[in-house]
């Protein structure tokens, strides 16, 4: 019945509606709470693929973390997901009326623009005073509501940006290295807050990080990028080290975990990869743990 009505509305002006309608229905059918879904997506700039062949999906209540070295296409991938960049290859589907909260990697506010944190919070939509106060308190900067953003430290401004994205109660929260410049205890608190937000509101979260560090205990799916998807899975699968997880998950406040990922392959300009043995392939199909060295260092409480 519904199908009929929708179809009627489309067929007057659009001949491609049947195919698109079928695809949309398919999408709705197999997308239990799907917020955004990328298929084989890639973006190229001046002849070079920034990232290529990325499959990614974020559902309601799911935290997906993108990790990878500098220039591996983490930010680019996130921007494709939320429509800031259009893919040159592949497809992206977003839930209709998807409400996004975005914390970009770098925001600089020109000093001629007078902007308090309070005003920053209301930048993309109206908010109640109480909502602002609550969000600022959650990230630990309630006392700075009236401070000019240009006078904040890097960590304080970063917290303000996270608070702004949270306060608008998005369906999908996209955080591009949200803890940069934030001190270590604040870092853990912010990640816990992010999970709390997910638990409370059921939003989906796409998180970007240099490496796993403290993130992994809060993450459902990890996608490791290096211009393409190197490996993916639950954190447990990505790092098959129960000890690591145990140390990390239960004693986050006292333990520093180091995780290194040595890439044994080079990404070529056309998006393919040169593997360690010199052969060239479309993807590196090697399981992740082969190209990875794990090192766990425990810092015992100084007391």
């Amino acid at each position: 019945m519904t199908l009929h009505i929708v179809a009627l509305r489309y067929n007057v002006c659009d001949t491609g509606w049947q195919e698109r309608e079928a695809r949309m229905l398919q999408f709705m059918a197999d997308s239990g709470g799907m917020l955004v879904e990328m298929e084989n997506a890639g973006v190229r700039r001046s002849g070079r693929w920034l990232v290529r062949g990325v499959d990614l999906a974020v559902r309601r209540g799911e935290i997906v973390t993108l990790i990878g070295p500098n220039g591996s296409g983490k930010s680019t991938t996130a921007k494709i997901a939320i429509g800031v960049l259009k893919p040159d290859e592949g497809t992206v589907r977003r839930k209709r009326t998807l409400k996004v909260g975005y914390v970009p990697q770098k925001v600089t506010v020109d000093w001629t623009l007078p902007l308090t944190i309070e005003r920053l919070m209301r930048l993309t939509g109206p908010l109640e005073d109480a909502q602002i106060a609550e969000a600022l308190a959650a990230v630990g900067i309630a006392h700075l509501a009236r401070a000019e953003v240009q006078r904040l430290s890097g960590g304080e401004f970063q917290r303000a940006l996270v608070a702004r994205a949270l306060a608008r109660q998005p369906d999908l929260l996209v955080l591009d290295e949200p803890v940069q410049g934030v001190d270590f205890s604040g870092e853990i608190a912010l990640y816990q807050l992010i999970r709390e937000i997910r638990d409370r509101t059921g939003c989906g979260i796409l998180l970007i990080s240099h490496d796993l560090h403290v993130v992994m205990a809060e993450t459902d799916t990890v996608i490791c990028l290096n211009g393409h998807v190197c490996c993916r899975g639950t954190p447990e699968n990505v790092i098959r080290s129960p000890e690591y997880l145990r140390l990390f998950g239960t004693r986050a406040g006292e333990t520093l975990a180091f995780y290194r990922h040595h890439h044994d392959h080079t990404r070529l300009a056309d998006g393919r990869v040169r593997l360690a043995d010199g052969t060239i392939a479309d993807h590196c199909d090697a399981p992740c743990d082969q190209g990875m060295e794990e090192q766990v260092a425990e810092k015992h409480d100084a007391r």
């Binding site: 921007k79 429509g83 800031v84 409400k99 975005y102 902007l115 993309t124």
Partner: protein, 266 residues
Amino acid sequence: MLDDFFTRALVAGIGLALVAGPLGCFVVWRRMAYFGDTMAHSALLGVALSFLFEINLMAGVFIIAALASLALLFLQRQGALSTDALLGILSHSTLALGLVMVAFMSWIRIDLMGFLFGDILAVSRLDIAMIYGGGALVLAVLAWLWRPLLTATVNPEIAEAEGLRPERARFVFMLLMAAIIAIAMKIVGILLITSLLIIPAAAGRRFAATPEIMAVAASIAGTLAVVGGLSASLHFDTPSGPSIVVAALCLFLVSLVRAPQWQRSE
């Protein structure tokens, strides 16, 4: 009341200052001073073409200024030269083209100085109607565009991600700039238009805690500059456009003196 030329000049100048304030704030925030200058310089080409094709002067200037900004966007996308160099090329070549064309049109007598430096004391009732009508339209569109444009100024990616369509905001802002240049040309002249956008906004920065307050402060500073400049012009028999700009400069300097802490915080 409007029979007196000085009153007409005052009314016209204040109308312009009220519109230029908020628009000028965006020019300052977005670092578009030179960009605005380029659009203004292209206005003379618009004047020449308006005379050639016998169309309304304001319409001609608006169209050419808008085209100049589009040309700049296109050349920026090509990426062959830096924006700075492109602005320099476009700015002076459109001005020179306009001057050359005017020289060729020997059958028309054009008060070149009036177009370059403004002739506020020759403002007619129709001009005033155009300023207030066009100005109200510009302010209404700017109010409608405020949130996306401000967000895009802070960070275009946030604006895009959160559905505010920054590209559209930017395009409409260009049209508003072209409109204010067309309106302002008669008052302060092509060469001084950008100063009326930038100086009051810069003077208002000191008194503002939010963007909205700064916009209002810029309008007030602009109004004061118009009143002060025109009065001085009448009193000392100085040219009106430059007198307004000098008055604005004085206001800006005063705002600097009163705010020694007004420095970059980094």
